[in-house]
Amino acid sequence: MAANMFVVPQTQGTVLCCKCGILMAPNPANMCVTCLRCEVDITEGLRKHVTIMHCPECDCYLQPPRTWLKAQLESKELLTYCVKRLETDLKKVRLVNAEFIWTEPHSKRIKVKLKVQKKALNGAILEQSYVVEYVQQDHMCESCTRFQANPDQWVASVQLRQCVSHRRTFFYLEQVILKHDAAVHAIKIKQMDRGIDFFFGNNSHALKFVEFLGKVVPTDKGKRSQQLVSHDTKNNSYNYKYTYSVEISPICREDLICLPPRFAVSLGNFGPLVICTRVTNNITLLDPFTLRQCFLDRDQFWRYSFKSLLSSRQLVEYDVFNVEVVSPEYNVGGCKYVIADVEVARVNNYSKLFCVRTHLGHILKPGDRALGYDLYGVNSNDNELDKYIDLVVPDVILIKKSYEEKRQKKRGKPRPWKLKSLNMELDESSEEKMGLEYEEFLRDLEENPELRFNLSLYRDRDYQPSEIASMADDDDDVPSVPLEELLADLELSDVEDGEDSMRE
């Protein structure tokens, strides 16, 4: 038997349309298209007129119940929005195509042509297009109304304070907030003495911000107070203004702390003089003589709430003359330390030579400069220190190596990276002091890679490395930010207005 059977070619015949009698090819309904269209209107029951709300101030359209969507005329977003308004209708039919029909921009009418498909009699699928007209009604959205009524209106505010004399924490916090976009909902940010105020339009935004703060810096729980703005007696509803007061712990990096006796004992006789090495939402304390490390989370800290003995403003420069390594290299919590005995003298008073023990044996060499606390000469008025009866207080505690000399060579040379800043209302009186502190903060960032971990540094487009003495720079061991860590700045993010595309 042949593998290929002879198959008779089949030509389709013609039948008469059952209604109008014209010749046509047979189809499942056996009616010509015209008769079918007269018979069946698949757009029956679908809405042809819809009313939409439009806010003339911000050009937004209302998506009930409360979302306002920003869209331009004849844009993709507007088309999506219009089709979405017809969602219930379009469940009955299948949407094939949608497009705009031009209308006059000020006519307050939007026309959309929709092509739909539906199953008609006997399984024939019919396709039909129809026009839906949207009437635009002007209605101000809630945020515009509120803004119009009182431009300074805020509903919730967060007052962030830290009782220290420098603003390093706030510079760092500013960068963290920018990285996580935590303050996108803030209406206004104001810089105050010893702190920053954030104003929000919504209580939940403020709460979210307070929670975010609790995760990045050691804050206390925060106290809330509310003020009655208005009271609707008929509805029994109340409008409040909420204020959250959040305090950051006064312990900062590189602070010298004397722990309260009870606390030191509870930690297992943790040497009462400790250095704070790292502050995130936990505080890391390091005993420089025993290299013991301890972590405090915020609940623990605020239970004892001690202050620091000496802070980084009181750091003094020392010259290192001799280094004798005493112990092998220890790795404490990711950082390497070596205990060494060093001979140091104050830079402006060479007469007195101090022999002290320090934990910086891994980076100090004779001839280096170091920064430390002068406990020999300081007159500390600290309650906790007095409670210790037989405590041997060392003369000097070294904190870090100083790159000041090498920085002098680089003075005036720009950095290849830059930071962004929040849209803050600044306090004019302290601008000069701020400039100095900001420079110190940038140096801090260069020296400490772990500090940069949480932040975004951007490549400075305007930076041109100078041709002269570029060779000399390579030999320098001043720490700088490696190029891989820098983010290329996106063009879009340069537009730093607070406008969102979705607002509630």
Partner: protein, 245 residues
């Protein structure tokens, strides 16, 4: 003459009736309207018999017949068989056949000379058909459907088949049946021809949804316009009588 009728609000009149040149079977309905429609057309000419088959009313699809005989399925009761034998003329042979496919009306389409059957019909059944109905039997499909009895209706003068039948198939069937065939629809675009209508040589009954176009197609292909029962006699008379006095 084609008439539009309904059986209890259903337009599928071919399901509830069977019309041949020698007799007409009608289902028992709630009201007498269906029966009286047939009676008014056919009363003097051929007997119109009210019956059920296997206790059901879908008699048109269960039995197959022509002027020579009537075939009923195996589940017809004895009383029904007896009733049919009594009511129909003596020259019509009523035969009950044992066949797995018991809806004979869907499986067999016939006129007085030729029959088309379902491809899977038994050999003995085919022989019985040839014997009882006195026809030539052909196994066929129509537009790919094996239920030939549902998708075509034909008489001795012409036939109507499923609208999707190709031209080659139409020619082939026409040659077999020796009658002109046309592809068309019934009951406003329905493809199940034999369920929507029933036809013999001079009259046809269609469902009430049939459009004017469909009705004109039916009347032209079955040549019903001039056909009256007496017209056949008239033609014969012309050839018999030599001269008018």
């Amino acid at each position: 003459m084609a008439t539009r009728i309904q059986f209890e609000n259903s337009c599928e009149v071919g399901v509830f009736s069977k019309l041949t040149n020698a007799y007409c079977l009608v289902a028992i309905g709630g009201s007498e309207n269906f029966y009286s429609a047939f009676e008014s057309e056919l009363a003097d000419v051929i007997p119109v018999v009210k019956t059920s088959i296997a206790g059901t009313r879908i008699i048109g699809r269960l039995c197959a017949g022509n002027k020579n005989g009537l075939l009923v399925p195996h589940n017809t009761t004895d009383q029904e068989l007896q009733h049919l034998r009594n009511s129909l003329p003596d020259q019509v042979v009523v035969q009950r056949i044992e066949e797995k496919l018991s809806a004979l009306g869907n499986c067999i389409a016939c006129n007085d000379h030729v029959a088309l059957t379902h491809t899977d019909l038994d050999k003995e059944t085919e022989e019985i058909i040839a014997d009882v109905l006195g026809v030539e039997v052909f196994r066929q499909t129509i537009a790919g459907n094996i239920l030939v009895g549902s998708y075509c209706a034909f008489s001795n003068r012409g036939g109507l088949v499923h609208p999707h039948t190709s031209i080659e198939d139409l020619d082939e069937l026409s040659t077999l049946l020796q009658v002109p065939l046309v592809a068309g629809t019934i009951n406003r675009g329905s493809e199940v021809i034999a369920a929507g209508m029933t036809v013999n040589d001079w009259t046809a009954f269609c469902g009430s949804d049939t459009t004017a176009t469909e009705l004109s197609v039916i009347e032209s292909v079955f040549k019903l316009r001039e056909a009256q029962p007496t017209a056949i006699v008239e033609e014969m008379r012309k050839s018999l009588i030599d001269s008018y006095v």
